[in-house]
Symmetry: D2
Subunit: 239 residues, 4 copies
């Protein structure tokens, strides 16, 4: 049984009528709904909770953390962002969705600005599969299509991904590395670009398939802090 924690700012849904109509109980709830199954137990947390719902205990009991955030990244305290980073380095999987490219934990893990170019014209997007054998894109076909998405465009200031598995394009011809895998410490990280709050992206079957696949891919097989131990010289006769 995989334990997933879906974290969401959960502000736009409360403040903006057009977002609430799409996600009346929040983006986290929509994600939890399609993920929950016999094999996956899903919990949720958001900014309004104490310690953002990201206590040490909550993270220890999480195999894969899914993160959606947009306009309130700065309200996540630095120490909680560092705690999330440390949990990933110990082995917890992490999936960062859409504007979580600017979330504190993602930026800490990448070490770069994670800046990109953007516009909000509701373009149709096609996301093309570059690595058809990667476990995250199984069941998707050559591409997935989203009737409307916010446009995210290169240059995307990230380290060269360990694997670039999807590239999106928009009506305006912009391109973006929409699906990227990173290994950091003992953890696996997946960045996935779709998911603007004003479009029903998380109801798209192909998006759901990819996020579900990514949960299995990111699940830890090993979880331990990489320490900085003082070691002893191996004595030859100890062999």
């Amino acid at each position: 049984m995989l334990k997933v924690l879906v974290w969401n700012e959960f502000r736009h849904e409360k403040e903006m009528e057009n977002v609430r109509e799409i996600y009346p109980e929040g983006i986290h709830k929509a994600i939890a709904d399609f993920l929950s199954c016999e094999d996956i137990q899903v919990k949720t947390a958001d900014l309004s909770k104490e310690e953002c719902g990201l206590t040490k205990e909550a993270l220890e009991q999480t195999d894969v953390l899914i993160w959606w955030g947009h306009a309130y990244h700065h309200e996540v305290p630095d120490e909680i962002a560092a705690r999330v980073r440390d949990a990933v380095l110990e082995g917890m999987g992490a999936i960062f969705l859409h504007s979580a490219h600017h979330s504190k934990p993602f930026k800490l893990l990448m070490g770069t600005s994670c800046n990109l170019s953007w516009r909000e014209d509701g373009d149709k997007e096609r996301i093309w599969i570059c690595k058809p054998s990667h476990p995250i894109v199984q069941g998707v076909g050559r591409y997935l299509e989203l009737p409307h998405e916010e446009t995210y465009a290169e240059p995307f200031d990230i380290p060269e991904p360990d694997q670039t598995i999807m590239i999106g394009s928009y009506e305006g011809s912009e391109v973006f590395r929409s699906g990227c895998c990173f290994y950091r410490g003992n953890g696996k990280i997946f960045y996935f670009q779709p998911g603007h709050e004003t479009f029903p992206t998380f109801y798209e079957p192909a998006v759901q398939t990819i996020i579900r696949n990514a949960v299995y891919w990111a699940a830890p097989t090993y979880r331990r802090k990489l320490e900085c131990p003082h070691i002893e010289k191996i004595q030859e006769n100890s062999i």
Copy 2:
């Protein structure tokens, strides 16, 4: 003074009126023309020459080899393809243009099929810069635009590039990793997607800028065969 050898199949230009009109003296000549300058000495070679013009001596005197080929890859003898690969591994730079993705030397260096999806509808292409600080894309801006190009689309079966510096998109929304850098042995390799024979791509200033930049980037600072030497155990008192 950098020594560049531009290799071209030089068949379409002879056999097809519409190609000859664009490149009356051959694609290699068009490339040689814009590259030649005080700092760069350019020679050319093609399939019709003895040993394809790729003798051991010719390669030894080449700093950077530029390769255009399309329909007659199979006419390059295996041993000459292997000789080119070996020269790259020793340190010669190599730039593979457009359909040279299926040339024997490129496939040998990649180790993969280098297959891709394609269609020939003369779409407009925009090639977006992912790494604005990379020396190859200096002077280009956010993107370059080609009024008509053959469409090359993902999945492109190459090893994960050491650096992905450009991604192209087409009117049909397809995407392609149009500018990729690889380090192999002591050599540097740049694959650049534009350059279909029926379009005047090599007269585009931005394409010329990129190829010229790539010549400087790929130039060897070191050229030596990586051998497989038997070594002696270092004696402690030899230190």
Copy 3:
């Protein structure tokens, strides 16, 4: 049930008394013995078989190919080496052991000379784990120790590995990237340095653990030739 094919030159064991004493039925048989279990079905093949035992059918029925070769690489016909490469690109896993760094299929897949420095003084080797969370090194500890091994030393002329998971050192202080993972096409490749024919390396429990782990790691979840299809432009109204 994973299907493994262990390929061995199987010459040293016939020609050299000191090798035969260690591996009386061949290195392939020693590997098959420790791998065989309820989950893994093992077959073997060698140079003496028709088509080296590497027929199209044999490869199609293989999930993971393990390769040991040393002095007779050249006796494997080029077309069979290319067939093995193609099977890997389609998704078959491949584990190359010790002197298989110079086998034709490995060199074809890497695209480089795969040269290295070497000496044969029977040094003790310690192989240190760089990525303790990688599935291939589970159950091994900080390092494994081999009382005697042939020394393989840097520079090792390979493309930058997708993951460097082990580095070996020898009594003479040389170092070598002893465990390297590569993704090529749809296939996974693991190179593992130990296994000189005159030492009983394949009876070492830690070596067996690593090879067994690597079989599971390299097993394909997907197997399909990456073609080079002509595609049609997606019509907007087809969406």
Copy 4:
């Protein structure tokens, strides 16, 4: 003229007799001395200076920053560490020496713990060259030897380097990725392991050669903040 800023904690030299004997004016001064030449202008800074000598202006006038720190990483304020990181992302080169693996700017740029195993027995170290054609190792030979160094051992918790160019080994057989290159944002980063304060490592000619080479390698050709701009859809008739 390249502008280098050498930053040093400059505490051990003041507090410990045995360090002061080796570096009477500080490690930074020893590095400045061998780097200074017609092509390279060197300045120094340390913890005792206002803002650690790392004001915005100082960084803007620096092409390559060299960093040595050990026991007082925590005294560098977070905002200054972030300022250094940002300067690197904009294009400033950075060379982190020895125990700077735990400096705040290096950890911020890597995103990982940068932990490693260590012991302080004054072992002899040999550092082996893995990429003999890399500009940083020109003039060094097969390896460099240090009579005494602190032992740094794998696992080293860093992202997979863009290029692993040196691996060190010690009398105790431990190994370490001693020379690693990373590209982050518009900047180039080199981590180099030697340089413990109680040994005269920075007087070794080969160490000096490598650091000098690294200055040239890391020098920016481009320096600009990668922003996160709102963009406009390209109008077709604007082409």
